[in-house]
């Protein structure tokens, strides 16, 4: 292996397993007494096979690895649908206060009143911002919130003696929508989009029927446009006895400006790790609190946070009393406290007037990019857009450059590329979401880069291979994904004697 402890960040960093040596230690723990155990037949007899490492080696290993990553802290990250906004460090500090970080979920209620107050106050903000009367705080991420919402919907139909089997989902939906519907035992039925990127109201109405449990729409949708007919669609849905699930991943465009409850939504998850700035951490964790209409509120998952007799808060953990109709538990314990602390701090920092500036600046930034790039890229739909702007790949016609190549060229220029090839409804999609925490100067820099790249792509022409060699200056060149999938190597394995002989 070409691993080394020296050199530039494009070097190959050894695996942890290639760095160890017996006798090193990274944690100094006291000596056990060696007393007799009570582990019975379960006592371990074989080694686990982990490497022994010292602290400095571990710190250097991860520091070096971190330098191979692009983060919001590094540079612009306009990854559509993911809302890569600045992650305030104040929130990291607060979440680490011992009064939150070092509290056990099963402590007696009188010792966790502050934690329950954070949940309760975050719930209040979410109810007010969405205009819906109830919120299930426990889902661990957006997809888990979708599950929560669809479970509440199915429970409501079951309570009504109805076994509705279908969910209407447009093709532009995020993959989690159909996956969740199937997970929850529903059949997915597709609805059509219009040429303007919106769900076709007539086709939606035509698809509604007595077997439809819910419609599942995203608003603003994944094409970055607001579903202007949304109230009519909600009304038709309710008239057909179905519910309206809204994917709230794009709530950043609406926060403080529009309440989904005013649009006829019955259930909507909110990705706290998008709109409310809790960090994505390379893929998680998140939190997906799910707001519910009055019709669905009785079915909300356990536990419920309720006021006790003396004004204190308590957890109702059984499906009895007010929670008798609850569909049950979605997970152990009660939600992502660390995420709630960060999200609530975010809310309190903006306050009632500031919070709508978030949506306004997010939408302004996206439209600015759209306007500045409309003659260079190819906007998929007429404007204005909401917090993100969708382009198709027709601007690359005749250049021999694909959306993927173009994304890699953006990497070479120092940016994280937009979301590519999603949504599926336009060819070679580029979904650009700048977020409100980027300045006009950053956007101008990006705009200038995109213009220059498009000019270069056109100048090079199809015969020169486009950007196939990009990103030349990144920690890695293009990776062989086919090889990874065909012959999966999903873990390190100790070298066998044979290997080490050769």
């Amino acid at each position: 292996m070409s691993g080394t402890q020296r050199g530039a960040p494009d070097r190959v960093e050894p695996l942890l397993f290639e760095l160890g040596a017996p006798g090193r230690r990274g944690v100094d723990l006291p000596e056990p007494t060696g007393a007799a155990t009570r582990l019975g037949a379960a006592e371990r007899t074989a080694e686990v096979g982990l490497p022994d490492l010292d602290e400095a080696t571990v710190v250097r290993h991860y520091t070096r690895l971190s330098r191979l990553n692009h983060g919001i802290d590094t540079a612009f990250y306009p990854l559509g649908s993911c809302t890569m906004k600045h992650n305030p460090r104040l929130h990291e500090k607060l979440a680490r206060l011992p009064g939150f970080a070092d509290v056990h979920p099963l402590q007696p209620a009188d010792t966790v009143q502050g934690a329950l107050a954070v949940i309760d106050e975050m719930a209040r903000w979410l109810r007010i911002l969405t205009g819906l009367p109830a919120v299930a705080m426990w889902p661990a991420a957006g997809a888990h919130g979708e599950l929560c919402g669809l479970m509440a919907i199915r429970a409501a139909h079951e309570a009504n003696g109805e076994a509705r089997t279908r969910i209407l989902v447009p093709d532009s939906a995020h993959g989690t929508n159909p996956a969740t519907a199937a997970f929850c035992g529903f059949e997915v039925h597709k609805v059509q989009e219009n040429p303007d990127g919106r769900v076709d109201t007539a086709s939606l109405k035509a698809a509604l029927g007595p077997d439809v449990a819910a419609i599942m729409l995203t608003n603003p949708n994944t094409c970055g446009v607001f579903e202007s007919d949304i109230r009519a669609m909600a009304e038709a849905t309710h008239a057909a006895g179905a519910y309206f699930y809204c994917d709230g991943a794009n709530f950043n465009a609406m926060i403080g400006k529009v309440r989904p409850g005013d649009l006829g939504v019955d259930a909507m998850h909110i990705n706290l790790h998008k709109t409310f700035s809790t960090p994505h951490g390379g893929g998680g964790p998140g939190a997906g609190p799910t707001v519910l209409s009055a019709a669905l509120a009785p079915f909300a998952p356990l536990p419920w946070v309720l006021p006790g007799e003396g004004g204190e808060l308590r957890l109702q953990e059984q499906a009895v009393g007010p929670a008798a109709a609850s569909f049950g538990r979605l997970r152990a314990f009660h939600g992502q406290m660390g995420t709630f602390v960060r999200a609530l701090a975010y809310c309190l920092s903006y306050g009632r007037d500031g919070i709508r500036k978030v949506a306004e600046d997010a939408v302004l930034n996206a439209n600015y990019l759209r306007a500045a790039l409309a003659d260079t890229l190819s906007p998929a739909y007429p404007g204005p857009c909401m917090h993100e702007c969708l382009f198709d790949d027709s601007f690359l016609d005749g250049t021999g450059v694909s959306t993927l190549d173009f994304a890699k060229a953006l990497i070479e220029a120092g940016f994280h590329p937009p979301t590519v090839y999603f949504p599926l409804v336009v060819s070679g999609a580029l979904l650009v979401e700048p977020t409100e925490t980027e300045s006009r100067a950053t956007l101008d820099d990006f705009i200038g880069t995109v213009r220059a790249l498009v000019a270069r792509a056109r100048a090079r022409g199809p015969e020169t291979g486009g950007f196939a060699d990009a990103p030349a200056n990144a920690p890695r060149q293009r990776t062989d994904e086919t090889r990874a999938a065909r012959n999966p190597v999903l873990r390190w394995k100790p070298p066998t004697t044979c290997d080490s002989m050769s």
Partner: protein
């Protein structure tokens, strides 16, 4: 506002460039009567005020470190080395998304590959994924996966499964059309040494928790034999991952899927979340796994590189036919877990586990010596059940108030409907439990049970 860089002049210039007069012109698709509602919310607060607010709120919680502490029940208090937190707060890890662009995500991808390897080694399985939300949802996903593999719809569940995990399963099963079949229940603190006994027909899987909810541990092999003889998979659910430093790996003993709560390493208590679910299985089932997988490959220059792979299982490719709907997982907690385990290494993990066990043995001996308290377990790792001579919830409340000791989790908190468990208390000890803590617990119990 410090998070909004655009000035009024910027905004004006941008609106001009777009060609609209006001920002609300950009919201023209929103029905005008619902735009800009009045919000009954407080005004903005600065950093000083926010810190004060949260210190006050946090101060209304008792921190586990404020005094002797013996709670477990699916979440365990361990020491986290300072380097863990310093490393996971590096902005390149903290503020990146799922590693969709491998050229600029090797940091995340390699750490996931290392995490997967660590989890596979610990569980004794061939492969592990890049994390699930937590142990309970990983457990439910394992059952769904077993149903997919065997094309059967019943899961036989041993009595020692944590009630929260059990109830999560029950919810998922109701909606997924699976049936949860309860297996005979052992006495609290006892492990059924001969496995589950007779199994119902057509089981997709047998699910057993190890250590079980009362802390008992024992041989997994008879469970694997029974499951396999019935054409079912064995799922082993581990609520306390540190236990695997002292206990035989379930994968080596025949488990087909091992799921665990990884919170004990690197993550902390955090009032229940975010945590990190570990999910491991054997090579032959890898294409049925839920969740992300990092895999090794090379770049065009032949350098070792990592990518997300086998994505054809996942929602963004397979949509309605995906193995799971999971997208965001628990990446940063997986990183914390991995850094902590890297620091421990083979010898450190063994020692940590041993210290936990010895602290629990000393605690059990002290508690067992109290009149009116008797330890139910023959075997355990770092948690055990005690039968008291009166309701455990009352004892816990009294000891907390009079002695400042958090004595454990009353079984009634987890089983409010089980009269027979009202007097049982779950007590956990870890490397953070001192002899002085144990003595304070013993004395408090003596004075309370007198």
């Amino acid at each position: 506002m410090r998070w909004l860089p655009n000035t009024e002049a910027d905004r004006r210039a941008m609106l001009d460039r777009i060609g609209v007069a006001t920002v609300n012109d950009l919201f023209s698709d929103v029905p005008a009567d619902v735009l800009d509602p009045a919000l009954d919310l407080p005004p903005a607060a600065g950093e000083i005020e926010i810190e004060r607010t949260f210190r006050e709120l946090g101060g209304r919680n008792r921190a586990a470190g404020d005094g002797p502490f013996f709670l477990g029940g699916g979440a365990y208090r361990h020491h986290i080395p300072a380097s863990v937190d310093a490393l996971i707060q590096r902005g390149e890890f903290l503020t990146s998304y799922t590693p969709y662009q491998p050229e600029i995500s090797q940091g995340t991808l390699q750490t996931l590959f290392e995490f997967q390897t660590q989890v596979a080694l610990l569980t004794g399985c061939d492969v592990a994924n890049a994390s699930m939300y937590d142990g309970s949802t990983a457990c439910a996903e394992a059952a769904l996966m077993a149903a997919r593999i065997t094309r059967r719809a019943r899961i036989a569940v041993a009595g020692g499964l944590h009630p929260h995990w059990h109830d999560t399963l029950a919810t998922y099963f109701h909606f997924a059309g699976l049936e949860l079949v309860p297996l005979p229940v052992a006495e609290p603190g006892c492990w059924l040494p001969d496995g589950p006994g007779a199994l119902p027909d057509d089981c997709a899987a047998v699910l057993v928790q190890y250590p079980d909810v009362f802390g008992a541990v024992g041989d997994v092999r008879p469970w694997a034999e029974a499951a396999h003889a019935a054409g079912a998979l064995l799922i082993v659910a581990v609520p306390e991952v540190v236990a695997l430093g002292s206990l035989r790996s379930p994968g080596t003993d025949g488990a087909d899927i091992v799921v665990a709560e990884g919170q004990s390493l690197g993550v902390g208590l955090a009032f229940g979340g975010p945590y990190v679910g570990l999910f491991a299985t054997s090579d032959r089932y890898v294409r049925n796994m839920p969740g992300r997988l990092a895999g090794e490959t090379v770049d065009t220059e032949g350098r070792r590189s990592f990518v997300l792979t086998l994505a054809a299982r996942e929602q963004h490719i397979r949509r309605g036919r995906a193995t799971s709907n999971i997208c965001t997982n628990s990446g940063l907690c997986a990183l914390a877990f991995s850094v902590h385990l890297a620091l421990l290494g083979e010898s450190g993990l063994a020692r940590l586990a041993r210290l936990n066990h010895e602290a629990a043995v000393r605690t059990a001996e002290r508690v067992d010596a109290v009149a009116g308290a008797s330890v139910a377990n023959r075997t355990f790792f770092n948690e055990f059940a005690v039968a008291l001579d009166r309701p455990a919830a009352d004892v816990v409340a009294a000891i907390e108030q009079r002695h400042g000791v958090l004595a454990g989790v009353p079984a009634s908190r987890l089983y409010p409907d089980r009269e027979d468990l009202a007097r049982h208390l779950l007590i956990a000890a870890t490397e953070l439990t001192s002899d002085a803590d144990i003595e304070r617990l013993g004395t408090a119990l003596e004075e309370t049970l007198r």
